[in-house]
Assembly symmetry: C2
Homo-oligomer: 400 residues x 2
């Protein structure tokens, strides 16, 4: 006698074979206590304004208690939409009615995909781009095509060529302190990209979770704020990198009829975001000085970027390329021909240091010699010794 | 000169024409301060255990502060999964590893749909069934087919016939204190339905947000707990009706490989649920007596069900049918031939009373004479006078 076959749940094609992922295994490895990990984009918890957040929750539960525990609306709580609109309005005039609250940027990307994508649609993305965005688009049956970039972001001519060839449903860009490269599109590049999008009648999903984490004091107006762009852009912000990722609050800024579609999609996905969290973030934004907090965080991150860059750059082989981001959380290194960052990872972890192999950030044609390193989690002295060990691994692989 | 055409965002077919909905208009009407609304399924906020919830948030932010503000994992926080497993284990042995946390039941339904549904798939649902579940399935391109029900829920013979004819991807049932009817499947009916599902090799999505809100002290083991069923059932629970809908915490109980798919889908949709909220609900479940709270709430809801039933039943026309639920939040009335609850609503609202027309709860072949009334929001004296006005409207429409 044999045991009966266990029941197998049907799995939609979009998730077939995705029960585990190499990245999940990497993060599991990187979480080992003996490993200094640059793999995640994890904020340093020592920088959380815990007391301010605790006070905001307490205020909400004391003064808006019944409301905070009750159902809300899919569009988001009015106070939070008002606070979000004020922040966006620094660069782009925005009313609360033009804000849709989401449970972090990830849900924002998923809502945008739900609202717009059909199976077989093309989405143009930077090459490389943020991998979880690619996943949110891919499970909608979209085909991602990478557009060539340089140190100033996506190349306008390449973008226009790709748009004319592939007729994308939208273009997805992270113009400021990009994930994974840390690169930023300057003012001229933004204008050139906007002109391409306007000329070709293309929609833009502009993801801006890092833009406020500037190391130079300079912040960049979103592409959405350029003439003609606001009506064709879904601009996404998140509190994850500024206040707390655990609270899961972000928003989409949009105009016109798409706002209704976004609200209907949000309702289908999760009805509404946590009302307690929404009201708490609104309170926090109202009474706390987020700008001062972000300035403190950015100053710390800057010293860590410096430590990572100073330690890593001399250890890289000739012909390697490494970014020196003006903000954000990530630095990107391409070791160059002959290196495979994925193959090298096991040795790196054995040496007590982890990074994220860069191939996973490419929609197509990955440069397998690339790696993403987040500089935000560890103190400079930890960074220095860990990168020294990584240098030995790189040298050993270069000698092969 | 004419102004240029405004840019139109592409809208996926799944949301085409869904910029607004008749239901949204109804809820807007029903929210008028001069209207006593039975339309929503809104818990009475006076029954929230505000002080307990506030204390739980405060404890988490004091003792698990940095962790609560940091990224978590898509599966959900271990403490909450442990607490959820304990509650589910009252009827069905369950480990924390078999729990996936979602942002309320709505996201649970959406995650299940993402994990399983392809465009063109059939989902069998009770006729009538919960309309927001229908929406979560519909935006995945599924075709919903309603299965005939009686006062004991879905009819096993009709279910088997439908399964053999339509080969559904899964069957979606709310066996206890169903939304919208308030009906409950008894023990025998559950066994018969389980036998059909086992015999036909069919997966079940079992939605149980109301089961603990019992007016008789009797709670019903889920169909998932019957022999052979646990491995083919996604069992969904929610804290929305027990503790707070604003906190947006629910879970899916499952077994085997589908657990991995659910986690990957959850990650694609929203990365993870609010870590603060998860840890707070875990703390609440650990130190507060949710059973005692639910007993208090159920006792209040019972008096309100009695008030609504006593007021409404004598006012219904001959041939009308009304349910007398043993728990939950909803009562369902079918006025019978010649009545159109949607057409009657404007007069009801003018008379200061609102309900939800029943047609929207049908996947197909709606009985337009039906209406859903929630008895949980208002005190008995408010219910009595509002229903008297509704009775006049019904009488006027019957005389036409």
């Amino acid at each position: 006698m044999t045991a009966p076959e266990p029941f197998r749940f049907p799995v939609a094609a979009r998730y077939a074979g995705m029960e585990s992922s190499p990245l999940k295994d990497i993060f599991a490895l990187a979480a080992r206590p003996d490993v200094v990990s640059f793999a995640g984009g994890i904020p340093d918890p020592a920088l959380f304004e815990l007391e301010d957040v605790r006070a905001a929750y307490d205020w909400v539960l004391t003064h808006q208690g019944a409301r905070s525990l009750q159902y809300g609306v899919s569009e988001g709580e009015p106070e939070l939409r008002e606070q979000a609109a004020r922040r966006v309005s620094r660069h782009l005039p925005t009313s609360a009615g033009q804000i849709r609250i989401t449970s972090g940027s990830q849900e924002g990307l998923f809502v945008a995909a739900q609202a717009m994508l059909e199976p077989g649609d093309v989405v143009l993305v930077e090459s490389p781009t943020y991998l979880a965005a690619v996943q949110a688009f891919a499970v909608h049956g979209a085909r991602m095509i990478g557009v060539e970039t340089d140190d100033h972001g996506v190349i306008p001519e390449a973008l226009e060529r790709s748009i004319r060839e592939h007729h994308p449903k939208f273009v997805y860009l992270i113009p400021t302190f990009q994930n994974p490269t840390g690169r930023t599109m300057g003012t001229d590049r933004r204008r050139e990209v906007a002109e391409v999008l306007l000329r070709t009648g293309t929609a833009l999903v502009e993801d801006d979770p890092y833009g406020e984490l500037s190391f130079t004091g300079t912040t960049f107006p979103p592409i959405a704020s350029l003439p003609g762009m606001s009506e064709r852009t879904l601009l996404m912000n998140s509190m994850s990198k500024l206040m707390s990722p655990g609270v899961r609050i972000g928003w989409i800024r949009a105009e016109g009829r798409v706002l209704d579609t976004l609200a209907v999609a949000k309702a289908a996905i999760s009805m509404q975001s946590s009302v307690v969290d929404q009201l708490t973030v609104a309170r926090y934004l109202e009474v706390c000085d987020l700008d001062a907090h972000v300035a403190r965080v950015s100053a710390v991150y800057r010293t860590r970027r410096d430590a990572l860059s100073a330690a890593l750059t001399p250890l890289l082989p000739p012909g390697a390329h490494v970014t020196l981001p003006d903000g954000g959380m990530f630095l990107w290194a391409a070791l160059g021909e002959g290196y495979d960052a994925q193959a090298m990872l096991a040795d790196a972890v054995a040496a007590g240091v982890a990074y994220l192999p860069g191939w996973s950030f490419y929609a197509d044609n990955p440069d397998r010699s690339t790696m993403r390193l987040s500089f935000v989690t560890h103190a400079p002295e930890v960074i220095g010794s860990a990168v020294a060990r990584l240098g030995e691994v790189i040298a050993a692989h270069g000698a092969r």
